[in-house]
């Protein structure tokens, strides 16, 4: 039962990998929403009022009630609209999905960030960690079209989405390469399949938009 557009707002930015998770989930569920593009340099009073704790995007506002943190928003969306489930039914499988989601956002993301900003030995170590992380994801995928199975994308695919698209620009602008299709054939196939899902394909920012974002981040770090 999709909510009316005026009941559901998403505060975010098109380039944000975390915002996109929420967009994909709502599109998959067929829920209408109003997207409010935020300027993250000059944060709006709306954003600050709705996410005073973290002052970050995305924020989902349903019937006036704000929810922050993308993974938490995904669970909320899944619990509120029961059709087209994002998480599996079995508690053990749900635990597995949540475990890997946490891994992707903690370990893998931290390693990727480090690889992006560092040089020399630190970079080598970070690249090694990133590769270890990708290896584990490759193993987790083994045999399946999507992390969530063969039928369609789910919670874990959505959380891993940044690996399918944003990661290549992190590598490009950061000046390092870890994701080779020969080394990670399952991930490579998953990436191709994931990016073809209509809800995903329709929402992706352009390569140049992401190059600009990561370019700006790199410059800011070099100026420190």
């Amino acid at each position: 039962m999709a909510g009316a557009a005026e009941d559901m707002k998403v505060l975010g930015t098109k380039q944000s990998m975390f915002t996109q998770r929420v967009v994909w989930a709502l599109k998959l569920k067929g829920v209408e929403y109003e997207f409010i593009e935020e300027d993250l340099v000059h944060k709006s009073s709306l954003l600050l009022a709705l996410n005073p704790v973290h002052k970050k995007v995305p924020v989902l506002v349903h019937d006036g009630k704000p929810i922050a943190e993308s993974k938490i928003i995904l669970e909320y969306i899944d619990e509120t609209w029961k059709e087209r489930p994002l998480l599996p039914e079995d508690p053990r499988e749900r635990a597995n999905a949540r475990f890997w989601a946490a891994f992707i956002d903690d370990k893998l993301m931290e390693a990727s960030k480090k690889a992006f900003v560092s040089t020399g030995d630190d970079r080598a170590k970070a690249m090694e960690s990133t590769m270890e992380g990708l290896k584990l994801l490759e193993q987790e995928l083994q045999g399946k079209k999507y992390f969530s199975g063969d039928d369609g994308i789910g919670y874990l695919d959505i959380v891993a989405g940044w690996v399918a698209y944003w990661f290549q620009f992190i590598e490009e602008i950061g000046g390092f390469k870890v994701m080779e299709s020969t080394k990670f054939p399952c991930l490579d196939a998953w990436i191709k399949n994931f990016l073809q899902v209509p809800s995903v394909e329709q929402s992706l920012p352009s390569p140049d938009e992401l190059r600009n974002v990561f370019g700006a981040i790199r410059m800011a770090m070099q100026m420190k």
Binding site: V53, E69, I72, I73, E75, T80, R94, A95, A102, F103
Partner: protein, 243 residues
């Protein structure tokens, strides 16, 4: 501290199966899991890990992180305390629910657990324990700000973070219930009854609950163990004034 509860095949309406918890006697993350199972009256075998000498079992059941807690249910392992708590809630939903029914309220519980578990939010309390000088002063200030947030915005007027009954967020906040041992060792009180009357009341209520009461780290053992830990950190710290 609860000793090992042997696995028993007791006929009851709870799901039967072999359940193990790998934990560590003073770890609040492990205790969360034990408390959750205790509140739901689910029997399990507790296996205490020496974190300086990790067992083969732990490395086998949590190869990715090599950390406790790990829940092993019918031979299948689940790691990460927040993930384990959700699993416990979904597997034994009828007894002592740990999450509210309303999706928005559930999101709020998850938000605060995620917040307080963030390493930036844990760090001030760790630095309070092992830091010195300026670094320690800063940690005291940050810790007090966090406690104020928890007292005023998260707990508010409620008896427990979960409302009338202990919920998942109370379990995540459980480290506060024995934080007094650290304050005693550091000889600085930050979680005092005058500044944080609601948190103080919460601690008394939480500690008094029969399931929690029987599953708290022994105070004297905490004092001894933490004193040793602190001394080790201070000995290696470049900031130590009396090296």
């Amino acid at each position: 501290m609860a000793g090992k509860q042997k696995h028993t095949r007791v006929k009851n309406q709870l799901k039967m199966g072999e359940l193990k918890v790998l934990g560590s006697w003073s770890s609040p993350y492990g205790l969360r899991v034990q408390w959750a199972l205790g509140l739901k009256s689910v029997e399990y075998e507790y296996i205490d890990e020496d974190l300086l000498n990790k067992s083969e079992m732990l490395l086998k059941y949590n190869p990715v992180h090599k950390k406790i807690p790990v829940l092993v249910h019918n031979g299948k392992a689940i790691a990460e305390s927040a993930v384990i708590l959700e699993y416990i809630e979904e597997t034994w939903p009828q007894q002592h629910p740990l999450l509210p029914k309303d999706p928005y309220e559930r999101a709020m519980v998850r938000f605060w657990i995620n917040f307080l578990d963030n390493k930036d939010k844990v760090a001030p309390f760790i630095t309070f324990f092992i830091g010195v000088g300026e670094e320690h002063k800063k940690a005291v200030k940050e810790a007090k700000e966090l406690l104020k947030l928890y007292e005023e915005q998260v707990l508010g007027e409620k008896k427990y973070f979960g409302g009338e009954e202990i919920g998942m967020l109370d379990l995540a906040m459980g480290w506060m219930a024995y934080f007094g041992a650290i304050e005693e060792i550091v000889d600085v009180k930050i979680l005092d009854a005058e500044t944080f009357p609601r948190l103080h009341a919460w601690i008394q209520n939480f500690r008094a609950h029969p399931v929690i009461k029987n599953n708290l780290p022994d105070h004297d053992r905490l004092l001894q163990n933490y004193t040793e830990k602190r001394q080790r950190f201070l000995a290696y710290s470049p900031h130590t004034e009396n090296a």
